[in-house]
Symmetry: C2
Subunit: 557 residues, 2 copies
Amino acid sequence: MTVPSDIEIARAARKKPIQEIGCKLGVPSESLIPYGHDKAKISASFIKGLADRPDGKLILVTAINPTPAGEGKTTTTVGLGDGLNRIGKKAVICIREPSLGPCFGVKGGAAGGGYAQVVPMEDINLHFTGDFHAITSAHNLLSALIDNHIYWGNELNIDTRRITWRRVMDMNDRALRQIVTSLGGASNGFPREAGFDITVASEVMAILCLATDLEDLERRLGAIIIGYRRDKSPVFARDLKADGAMAVLLKEALQPNLVQTLENNPALVHGGPFANIAHGCNSVVATKTALKLGDYVVTEAGFGADLGAEKFFDIKCRKAGLTPSAVVLVATVRALKMNGGVAKDDLSREDVAAVERGAVNLARHLENLAKFGVPAVVAINHFTTDTDAEIAAVKAVAEGLGAEAVLCRHWADGAAGITELAETVVRIAETPSAFRPLYPDAMPLFSKIERIAAEIYRAGEVTADKAVREQLADWERQGYGELPVCMAKTQYSFSTDPTLRGAPEGHEVHVREVRLSAGAGFIVAITGEIMTMPGLPRTPSSEKIRLNSDGAIEGLF
Amino acid sequence: MTVPSDIEIARAARKKPIQEIGCKLGVPSESLIPYGHDKAKISASFIKGLADRPDGKLILVTAINPTPAGEGKTTTTVGLGDGLNRIGKKAVICIREPSLGPCFGVKGGAAGGGYAQVVPMEDINLHFTGDFHAITSAHNLLSALIDNHIYWGNELNIDTRRITWRRVMDMNDRALRQIVTSLGGASNGFPREAGFDITVASEVMAILCLATDLEDLERRLGAIIIGYRRDKSPVFARDLKADGAMAVLLKEALQPNLVQTLENNPALVHGGPFANIAHGCNSVVATKTALKLGDYVVTEAGFGADLGAEKFFDIKCRKAGLTPSAVVLVATVRALKMNGGVAKDDLSREDVAAVERGAVNLARHLENLAKFGVPAVVAINHFTTDTDAEIAAVKAVAEGLGAEAVLCRHWADGAAGITELAETVVRIAETPSAFRPLYPDAMPLFSKIERIAAEIYRAGEVTADKAVREQLADWERQGYGELPVCMAKTQYSFSTDPTLRGAPEGHEVHVREVRLSAGAGFIVAITGEIMTMPGLPRTPSSEKIRLNSDGAIEGLF
């Protein structure tokens, strides 16, 4: 059977007017703010009116450690949403917005694949409803206000060597990683070292995704630490009176975006924070709104379950008061074979032993997920090269750990290919949730890191320089000790070594640096190198992106 | 009589759904791309279908040299549009989009004032439909591709000292005017001097405003010169294969934005290039679309008539093949008094002699406008402090030059206050237009500058260093000799000295620098200092901008 390309499928979609999709969810036309005919924001005033409704059930889709073979987490999230609707449940999908900049380096994506996609795919990958542009503007307004304050006399005594707030751009531009600003004489200010990150790495993005409403957003924006004085006391965005204007710039962006799947089911695509230096989940506003509008909400978290699910539980659910009812752990036979040591070019050959060897990765994640008290099911995202024996091997591993593993063919068949998973999810989500985060708020910051490393990564020890430990102690004294920890670690391994596949244990986790995202409300613990401004490849995909004679976009996918 | 503040009036507006405004113009709902309920883009495919319709009449609103007293050019443009509709004509207003960045320095504006405004005022001043964000993205994609090309081996041999393409941001950020990029070692590229301009100064903005359709847009983007090789040969954006991807990013932005006046008349608000280093008019696409949809199109040009009207005629009309039918020259009694030497604090006191002295500025502009062969009328934009004797003095000056001067009270009374001007415009626009640009395409570039300086500025001579003259000669040899010239001169005087009010003559115009905007299609001749990245004031207006408890924006106006 031949499945057409993602873009061919997306272009052939029979989209319904977005008002009809809103109607399915009980959102009247006047409460939708349209952006074209197939995208809309749900108005803040309508959302406010939902407060008293009961919540639907929250289903998290996560995955084994990613490999170049691909797992299809977003595709499965979208497919499961369609599958739940197909079996008669009112389900809403919640996923992240992709970043515009990287589309010009390598091909776009992140809206699903095959017959499990959200549309309009091109819009979602490019400007969409302007949320990321608004975040860029709000972030850079604060940056401009910092240098402007210094220019006019620096009343706040900001130490220009200790400014931590950078600038952002939604573009892959390595030349902006490290720059010197304010050159050219007195009228341009005081020269200093500075730099740009990509917009998705902005703390404003993390704030937008964790804020519960406009007031909370403004409060968090004001709590951003932009740098320090010579005496190391922090300077806040509110000290520059920046919070009000930043909130004004983000007023529309905070409202969740409604689009549809290929099967005309509702999807909220909203917010897209980095999954390393931030928590990597779509916005709290979108998730909470979806829970009020649907009986089931299917959402995903960035990277593998060791990072994405842990942060979803320990940061997003903890802070937003969400109680997840079930977890879907996505795996593919191909990815398990890579975890079992098979090279990428050999993945199409049957190798049951390799599947069994690689399944230790799957098993480890299942064990970990149990620690959060949420029932889990394995979704085997089917590839045409999978054999029955290989699939049976995956099922056996899952069953050995008391979990079901369900074969899903949503990529090729849409909702019809994933009804068994939908039924299973409905069943396991019936159990009242015993959800609990991994550590209490009151635990010391370094102990939180140790807890995650021991329980999730199975590390032997966590090391850190004295400066890092002192910094954490400082923050505890300043009142930030209750914050959760956001781990920045390679997504390719349970360890900090990206080449260690499978289920390593006893390794060392070295915390190189810690950062405080005081507005977002977490401490970032960095292990290894974290790139917050990507570069473009030798032959960027932009060279092939253009409009064809019909006005359609070529080369984006 | 007390008129409420602009923002109070704007908030009290009884806006109609944008589909109703489109309907007035014969644009069906499905050809409108809504952005919320009160803003929409008119789809490119609908516009394409209008080609065979006859054009309405094009009316330019321009002004005397601006003074701190204010003239009200946009207010009069909006008022005249309403006035024409009130006397039963189908009129469409075309104005520029304001820039977001400056709103956080000083108060926002540029959507008219009093009872002559376009709404939604706040949206128009902030993100609006995302056009400027799209321009920023397209511009900075090209910037990133330049440094990326050099990083990967610089096959095109770009001389890194001669890169003229900077980066842009829609923010007042003086720290970014002059920077050094690519610091931090080999993985970040080759350090070089660079900088940011504000987005409205981008050549991409000028291109968007001069392009006739998507194909023309892409061709112009490809023709951008990004810098030079060691042998001084130009490197084009198309050499980096950037044109296609940039056009994709600008696909939506090229479609004009429809909003409404307080009196529910249609206004296209689209594009906003700088009026010094660019031509300062709204987009050709908007103007041409409006001419197909309305019997009268009222538009404006930046700064006073010496810059704005000259560029409108010699760049926009020449290149887009537009034939203006009438010009409205806006003046105020207060501004004429300032031109006559009265200090700002004394403007409320009657001073007929000062009005007469200052009216030399008005007279000079009227004489100049006659050189383009377009009939002109003076609009006296009424202020409550004006006296009958002062108004009579202005009328006498205009009549002495064979022009009518009409008192307009649109600011206080809306359309009802400007019907006399509307009737006059309709009458003078009946004469078949004898429009002619000031100079032929074939004239040498330096002679074009001399022609403008002599005819419009009444300068004694134009001076320029040998390097400037040689640069112009070089461009002529390269085939750019047919381009029009875009003068960058102070807006406050006919001369290059901003303090010389009235009607100076015999002065020297020194061309300090020339720039080639090969994509936009003009040569920029710079006299004096041109600031392409503004800074913020000591107490930026952002400090007062915030959302009030009703969710409305405070402090923006």
